[in-house]
């Protein structure tokens, strides 16, 4: 059992169980942090190994299955995301977690997600998928039953869809490990190309693809399966949400990649291409595009800080899906890059939210304002995060988004191009709303003695913010690793520069010139006369003298006009649709139960007679 891959996967689990069993304040935090640090350390160490050999492999046999684990370039990247953001989130939890319950399930979910990334067979993949789902569900259940059930039901619905798909593949291929499945399906595609009968029929391929799409779509929060995400992300420990949104949703993204890895050739053969993208991928991309728009617009309309970022998460995942869906080497790399950057900035955001909630106890915009003065460190972090998410060069958010834009538009995908453009604008919109309502403007008096972030949270945020900046200025660091996936130079350039041939981006250059511009502006500024600081009430109020009693900041319904513009579309709610279905099933069950088990033994005897009749009819 002692293998580095096993340690990577199971260290958090063990730590979680230990922390839960010991349940001593101080010690459980220490164990938890160590448990999250071990995988990270081993993953960093594995980087060395991977530079000398293509992969690290391990397998165990259990309960009649042979579980394969494989660490290679793609999942190393994803595992690193999990490692880094997971570690940061766990650090954050040192401040925000209230009891050992949270430690247990947060760490189990980290194990789950690491397992999903490292598994190299469908059985293991499914198992860890379930572990991850369950643990994260338990994190939500503690806070809100309804939200958690919605999350769990949709997730498990997805997981079961995946199970059926796995079963169909298993029935035909007879194996569960990725290598065999990939090979068999590849050969099947070849067979089809030569006109002989294929192993899988067209309908089966549609079914398998559809089921996988549902499975991974749910986890990734893809429209229209996203409805769980806003509630689940917001109704839990926000430090944990950093991991939840930053890492767990990436499992869905990774799953989409698994579709490519396993079924790509076969699906491509069956359905052909749409432009440069495979048709099946285009479906993913289109849904991804819709996800961007829906998530973004709804994010702008939220009144709760947690919900805003939850929807924002959905929206950002949409980008990744678009990239994956387009399916060229470049777009996939861009998508993975965006996955990295999303994890970094969204992890950071949720840690910021955690800090705010931890310090103020408030979650709604209407109760906040003017916190920038009171929490300067947190605000600085927020500033980095905002710039990164909004896609402002030279931060990592821009680098990945830029790659994605180029990759998509270069493949002549106008509709998708329009969608992602819209998405980046909407990102601006909701971020400013967050900035305005939380950090600026008039501060409610009950927030006057708010303190800045506690040390563990500050460290956690610092790590993520630093990475946001570093990977933005030196995007080549990430690109270099991404290129290893395909074994060729898909993204050219140096450590600071991304060069695609039809477009280039140099992070360092932009930084330098931004500094130059700022210096010029600063010179002009400092040439002017001295400034005098005035309070927020001392502003232009069209002649009305105001005091702190007046609420000067628009905190509620900030984007009311947008809401009015979208009134028609907002009436359509998939959330409500699912709830209606759920309620309908419950009512049906109720009626049916009272009808079938109606209490009369004679009715029951009739059931027996009917079965007898069926048997008789079958026999005669």
């Amino acid at each position: 059992m002692i293998n580095e891959l096993m340690i990577i996967i199971f260290a958090p689990l063990l730590a979680g169980v230990l922390a839960w069993l010991l349940d001593i304040k101080g010690i459980r935090e220490a164990i938890g942090v160590i448990g999250a640090a071990i995988p990270l350390a081993y993953l960093i160490q594995a980087y060395q190994t991977l530079s000398t050999q293509p992969s690290i492999q391990y397998s165990i046999a259990l309960a009649g299955f042979k579980f394969e684990f494989l660490l290679y370039q793609i999942n190393w990247i994803f595992a690193m995301i999990a490692g880094v953001v997971g570690f940061a989130a766990v650090l954050g939890m040192v401040s925000t977690a209230k009891d050992s319950y949270e430690w247990l399930f947060a760490l189990i979910s980290l194990t789950g997600v690491l397992g999903v990334f490292l598994a190299d067979d469908l059985a293991g993949f499914f198992i860890f998928w379930e572990v991850m789902t369950f643990a994260s569900f338990m994190m939500v259940l503690k806070y809100n039953r309804k939200a958690s059930l919605k999350y769990f039901l949709l997730s498990v619905f997805g997981a079961y869809a995946m199970l059926i798909a796995i079963g169909i593949i298993y029935a035909k291929v007879g194996a569960l490990d990725f290598a065999t499945i990939q090979q068999v399906l590849y050969q099947d595609a070849m067979r089809g190309a030569f006109g002989t009968d294929t192993l899988f029929s067209r309908n089966e391929m549609i079914l398998v693809f559809g089921l996988f799409l549902i499975a991974f779509g749910v986890k990734a929060g893809m429209f229209p399966l996203h409805v769980w995400a806003p509630d689940a992300y917001s109704e839990t420990n926000q430090s944990y949400t950093a991991m939840f949104s930053g890492v767990l949703s990436k499992a869905g993204v990774y799953g989409m990649l698994v579709i490519y890895i396993l079924l790509g050739t076969r699906l491509m053969y069956e359905f052909g291409k749409f432009g440069a993208a495979p048709k099946f991928g285009y479906i993913i991309a289109l849904l991804g595009g819709l996800t961007i728009i829906v998530g973004g617009l709804l994010a702008a309309l939220q009144e709760d800080i947690r919900k805003l970022f939850a929807y924002s998460s959905i929206s950002q995942i949409g980008y990744i899906l678009v990239g994956i869906g387009v399916g060229t080497a470049l777009s996939i790399e861009a998508a993975i890059y965006h996955a990295v950057s999303h994890a970094l900035f969204k992890g950071l955001f949720f840690l910021i939210v955690a800090t705010i909630i931890y310090r103020t106890g408030k979650t709604e915009f209407k109760d906040m304002g003017g916190l920038a003065e009171k929490m300067p460190i947190t605000f600085a972090m927020a500033f980095v995060a905002i710039l990164s998410l909004a896609g402002i060069p030279p931060l990592v958010g821009f680098a990945s988004k830029w790659l994605l834009f180029e990759a998509v538009i270069h493949e002549n995908m106008p509709i998708l191009g329009g969608m992602i453009f819209f998405g980046s604008a909407i990102g601006f919109v909701y971020l400013i709303r967050f900035t305005y309502a939380v950090w600026f403007g008039q501060r409610p008096t009950d927030l006057d003695d708010t303190k800045d972030a506690p040390l563990p949270l500050a460290i956690a945020m610092g790590i993520l913010a630093l990475l946001n900046v570093v990977f933005g200025i030196a995007p080549g660091l990430v690109a270099k690793e991404l290129n290893k996936i395909f074994g060729k130079e898909v993204i050219g350039g140096t450590i600071y520069e991304l060069n695609l041939g039809f477009g280039r981006y140099n992070g360092l250059l932009i930084t330098i010139w931004l500094v130059v511009g700022l210096v010029i502006a600063a010179i002009i500024y400092f040439l002017g006369a001295k400034v005098r600081k005035v309070p927020v009430t001392d502003t232009y109020q069209a002649g009305n003298p105001v005091t702190m009693e007046y609420n000067l900041t628009i905190r509620r319904n900030f984007f009311l006009p947008l809401k009015e513009t979208l009134a028609f579309w907002l009436r359509i709610s998939f959330d409500r649709l699912y709830q209606d279905i759920g309620k309908w099933i419950e009512d049906l069950a109720e009626t049916m139960r009272h009808y079938i088990y109606n209490g009369s033994v004679q009715a029951y005897a009739w059931y027996l007679a009917i079965v007898l009749l069926i048997l008789a009819l079958w026999g005669v």
Binding site: R593, H594, Y597, N598, G599, S600, V601, Q602, A605, W606, A609
Partner: protein, 114 residues
Amino acid sequence: MISAYYFGAISLILIGLYAILTKRNLLKILVGLSIMETGVNLLLISVGYVSGRTAPILTEGATPQTAVDPIPQALVLTAIVIGVATTALALTVAINLYEKYKTLDIEKIRGLRG
């Protein structure tokens, strides 16, 4: 053409079933159950019968070649006892039910449902 014994046995079983399916009085249902059991026993016995042979008691005059199959008879003995046991218990339950519900109409004894 089916033999009269089989016919009788099947008829008894089905009459019992009919009673269970249509009668509302618990005791009648139990009677139906008993009729069914009787029918089954009759069926068992008739299966073991061999034309022209006697009871399998091997005293003078009876040889293994002139005796009918002893097994069904042994089985029926067991089955009868089991039937008795079931009936006894069922009647006991009926007593208890009557005490609690003051009725034997099974349409009215529907406390547990859904």
